[in-house]
Subunit: 348 residues, 2 copies
Amino acid sequence: MEKKRVRIALDAMGGDFAPQSVVKGAIEAQKELKDKVELFLVGDKGKINKEFSRLKVSNSPFGLIHAPEFITMADNPIDALKRKKDSSISLGINLVKKGGTDAFVSGGNTGAVMASALLTLGRIEGALRPAITTCLPSEKGVVVFLDGGANTDCRPQNLFQFGVMGSIYANSILKIDNPKVGLLSIGVEQTKGNELILESYKLFSNSCLNFVGNVEGRDVLKGTCDVVVCDGFVGNIVLKFAESFDGFLTSLVKKRVKKSPLFRLGAFLLKISIRDLRKTLDYAEYGGAPLLGVDGVCIICHGDSSSKAIKNACKLACDMVENEVNKTIKDKLAENSKALKEINELKN
Amino acid sequence: MEKKRVRIALDAMGGDFAPQSVVKGAIEAQKELKDKVELFLVGDKGKINKEFSRLKVSNSPFGLIHAPEFITMADNPIDALKRKKDSSISLGINLVKKGGTDAFVSGGNTGAVMASALLTLGRIEGALRPAITTCLPSEKGVVVFLDGGANTDCRPQNLFQFGVMGSIYANSILKIDNPKVGLLSIGVEQTKGNELILESYKLFSNSCLNFVGNVEGRDVLKGTCDVVVCDGFVGNIVLKFAESFDGFLTSLVKKRVKKSPLFRLGAFLLKISIRDLRKTLDYAEYGGAPLLGVDGVCIICHGDSSSKAIKNACKLACDMVENEVNKTIKDKLAENSKALKEINELKN
C-alpha cells in the first residue's frame, strides 16, 4: 500500500522575504521530500503566481489557497486575528483544524501564529501551555531548548510539561535515546534558583524523566544535557542574546583587522568561521521551532527565514506527523499526571 | 596637602589561583597605582610569605592580616560564615566595617562575600537590595549589566533601584554622560515582558532616569543602551551563557580545522581572535563586579581571576572610593524615592 502523503500548509506571506523565500523553499522541499509530502501555499494568489513566473515554474505542483489579507510583523496579534479573518495565518491554521492539511508552517508574526494555533487548534489533551521548542547547537550535538518565548510567566507544572514535551521531541525527532533533561538555573545544586525553579525541581525529580538536575547558563552550549527547560521569558532572552553573537564577533574582527593590516591576510578564514557560527546558531537551520502542546503540528520559522529554512521546516513538519509526536505527548502527559498523582497520594 | 591614600583589603585566599594570583595582582596594582593606594593582604600568613619568597620580594609594601581560616568555593555561604569566624572574607569585610580599610576585593566564594557584606556592612540608606554590577563589552563600548546574580526573585522597586545604581556607576566610573538605561525584556514595546517587567516599566518611565524602554537579548552586545537592568536570575544565566561562548567557538574551529587541513594555515589567526573574544567577554578584565547597594566598597572577582584581574579590581575599588559612588547612590535613592512618592500622591 502506498504511504499516505503528509499534507503541509505553508504561510506564503509570512516572513521578511515572503513570498519569494517561501515559494522557493516549497520548491526545494518538494524536490527533496518528493512523494512524502503534498504542499499547499496559503496567501495572495497574485503575488504567489508572480513568484512562479519569476522562477519560470509553469506547472506548479502545489495546492494554492487564496488569502486576501495578511498579518504584518508589526500587527498586534490578537487584534489582527480579529480584524483579518482571511489572513494567511488564520486560513492556514484553519486548514489544519479542518483536516485539510496535517501541519502548518509560518515565518510570519510569531504572536499571531501562536494565538491562532491556540485558539483554533486548542491544546493537546492534558497540556497546560504550549511551548516554542527550539534547537541550539552545542559542543556535543543539538540541544532542545524550551520555552523559547510562548509563556512569560510560568508555574512549576508548566515547566514540568515542557520537560516532558522536550524529551519526546528529542527522542522522536532527534533520535536521542533517553534524553537528559536539565532545568536552567543559576547553580547546579537543588537549593539554587528562583522560587519557580526550586518548586519545579521537586516535580522533575519525582518524575520518570531522565532528569539531570539544574544546569547553568554555560551548560547550554556545552551540551551538558539534551533538553534544557526554562520559562519563555528567560528562553527568549537567551535565544536573542545567542543570535547577536554573530554581529558582535564580526565587529570584533573588524576592529582587529583595522588595528593590524597583517591580520587582513587571515580575515577570509575568520569570515568562514563566523559563517559557520552564524549557520550553527541560526535556529532556522534546524527547520524552525514547533509549537509543542497545541493539538496540531505548527512550525514557527524565523522572520528572516531563507528558502533553505523553509525547506527544513517542511522536513520537520513531515517528521513530526510521521512520528506522531503529538500522540506521544498526549500519552506521556497522561502517564505523568497519573504518576504525579500517585506520588502525592503516597505522601499524604 | 597630600591626598589620602585609598586603603584596600585583598582576600589573599579567594579564588582558584590564590594566593599566587592575588599576591602577584597586589604587586602589579601597587606598581601601577603607586601612592594612590595602600594595600592589605588578608589570609594565611605562612602561605602569603611563601609566595613572597617565591617571587623574591623581601620587603613587602603591604599590610598583612592573618586569617587562620578560609572559606572554600564549595562551602555553603551562611553556614561557613557561622563556622569560620576568622576566615579571610569575614576579617576583610570587618576591616571595611571598622574603618580600617575603604574597600574589600575578593575572588572567593561569591555567596559568602555577598552574605558577609550584607550582614556586616549593611545596606546603603534607602537601598533595598544589593546588586552584582558587571560590565559587558558591546559593539559600541562597555555596557553596565545588573543584577549579575545577587537576587533571584525581585520586585519592581528592586529593579528600579538597580537602574539608579547602574546609572550612577556608568556615570561615575565609566564617565558616560546621562547613561541610557534599558529593561531587559522579550520585546521593546511597553506591553512585552513578564509581570515583573510590566510593573517595573511604569516605575522606570516615571523616574528621572534616562530610560530608553525595554531592550531585548540581542541589544546587550549591540550596545543599544549603557545600562541593562534585569533580575539576578536572568542576569546570572545570561552572563554564564556569554562566558561559554569562547569554549563553544573553539570547539567549532577545531571541527573546521579537522574537516579542512588547509584551514590549519590560518588557525593561529583564529586563535588570536578567540583570545580577543575571551578577553573581551571576561568580566575580570573590567576589574571585577562591585556589589552595589551595600554600605562599603566590595568588589567581587571571578573565581579564576588572574593577577591582572586582581590589579584591575584594585583600580576599580580605588575609583569607587575616590568618586564617592556610594554617597551618590545614597543621595540619588533619596531623591528618587521622594520623586516617586510625589508622583504617587499626584495620582491619588
